[in-house]
Amino acid sequence: MTKGLQSIAFKESPYLVSSASVAGKKEGEGPLGKMFDMVEKEDLFGENTWEEAESTMQKEACLLAMGKAHMEAKDVRYLFGGDLLRQGVATSMGVSELNIPLFGLFGACSTSGEALALASMSVAAGYGECMLAVTSSHFGSAEKEFRFPLGYANQRPLSAQWTVTGSGAFLVGTKRSHVRITGVTVGKIVDYGLKDSQNMGACMAPAACDTIIRNLEDFGRKAEDYNRIITGDLGYVGQSILFDLMRGKGYDIKKNHMDCGMTIFDQMTQDTHAGGSGCGCAATTLSAYILPKVERGEWKRVLFVPTGALMSTVSYNEGASVPGIAHGIVLEHC
């Protein structure tokens, strides 16, 4: 049922049945390296292009997630998937072989939240017993899409983030597990007028702030009611801005905040500047690091808030600002 202005509290909460993460070489060398289900040493994943590699990651993540739950593609009612590439081709090409009815999504790096929200809503509404949510990003294809060819010699600004090569897939359904999605808060587009696409943390922090506060107010909770409030890819710059914005509105989340972009890489040794980003950043961290902790009951309730910077190379070149969006997913141990 609806809760507050933008949220839903499920009467019969769907379970997060299983999940899987597939990551690239650099991610495999990072702090979460050993936790991913699959790490490929070669970023082309045995394919010819970055785009094909990204599609392969998505397919592998879906197959692994289904395999863990002992399910097959035919058991999945609908698939919710998206990525960062033009027209969402990484998803279309990646999941076509699975033959699952598909909703293609775009929410920039917040797509994992969008997919999880829609999948859990569909299950809760009784439109199927099992849904699959998947997202991905790839450093090579994202650099090519949004910035420069990989071989181009330039200096990245310190506020720039490193697109994660990885994919996360999540099975949401009625089959019992130890994690439930008890609520979602669908985020609004928040635009503070910033135009710097190399400082995405600052572009997305206002949206994260808006969604987190909305979630707390809609559910009548305090920040302490969550063991962790986990943003997707604000990075170091975005996190400090989020703290300031939240403090300005009377909330202090310093103690229980975590950011996937700051968790997935080691800033000191991996030269990733402000942290990780991309759809794959939040998705793989959720699957590899966050969900196991919720499953074990180490964290009882967390708010997962993947954040997205909404832009294209055309909108950027035409001088448009980079608005942000963030969706809140409430995950609880059971």
Binding site: P149, L150, G151, Y152, L158, S159, Y192, L194, I241, D244
Partner: protein, 153 residues
């Protein structure tokens, strides 16, 4: 109006919050990187002149050799690493220009010889070529005007 002021305030705040590269350190590194590249060029030039080529031919050889070295280093992914350290020192010399042409050629090869390499090889260097030629045309036109009006001989 109020919204604009708010946006400006946020932009200023973000600017304060965002770390930037250390300018003097970057300039020092650019000086060294650019200096090394130019010294290599000078060495090639001197060598060519020693072989008995005249100044123009030696200059041509020097540019060509620097371009080839840069393209090879780009192909082996070494040039971007040098540029990460050396910044503008590696971008301004002709080697930087060669890199900006070689990098798209490598990246877009997969999209085909025509639509990939053909259309996209100058995505970065294109503006430099266009406005470089345009500027030389403007200067040439100015020179011609001065010549016709008898101001310069």
């Amino acid at each position: 109006m109020d919204k604009e002021r708010q946006q400006q305030a946020y932009e200023n705040y973000v600017k304060k919050k965002t770390p930037v590269h250390n300018l003097p350190a970057n300039m020092g590194k650019a000086f060294i990187a650019g200096g090394v590249i130019c010294t290599v060029g000078q060495a090639v030039l001197n060598f060519c002149e020693k072989l008995g080529f005249d100044k123009d031919v030696s200059g041509g050889w020097t540019s060509m050799i620097l371009v080839v070295i840069s393209v090879l280093l780009t192909g082996f992914n070494i040039y971007p690493r040098i540029a990460k350290w050396g910044g503008a020192g590696t971008l301004v010399p002709i080697t930087g220009f060669a890199n900006s042409v070689a990098a798209p050629a490598i990246e877009y090869k997969k999209e085909g010889q025509v639509m990939g390499i053909g259309c996209k090889i100058f995505t970065i260097a294109g503006p430099v070529i266009l406005y470089g030629i345009f500027t030389s045309w403007v200067l040439g036109f100015g020179y011609w005007l001065l010549k016709v009006s008898g101001i310069v001989a």
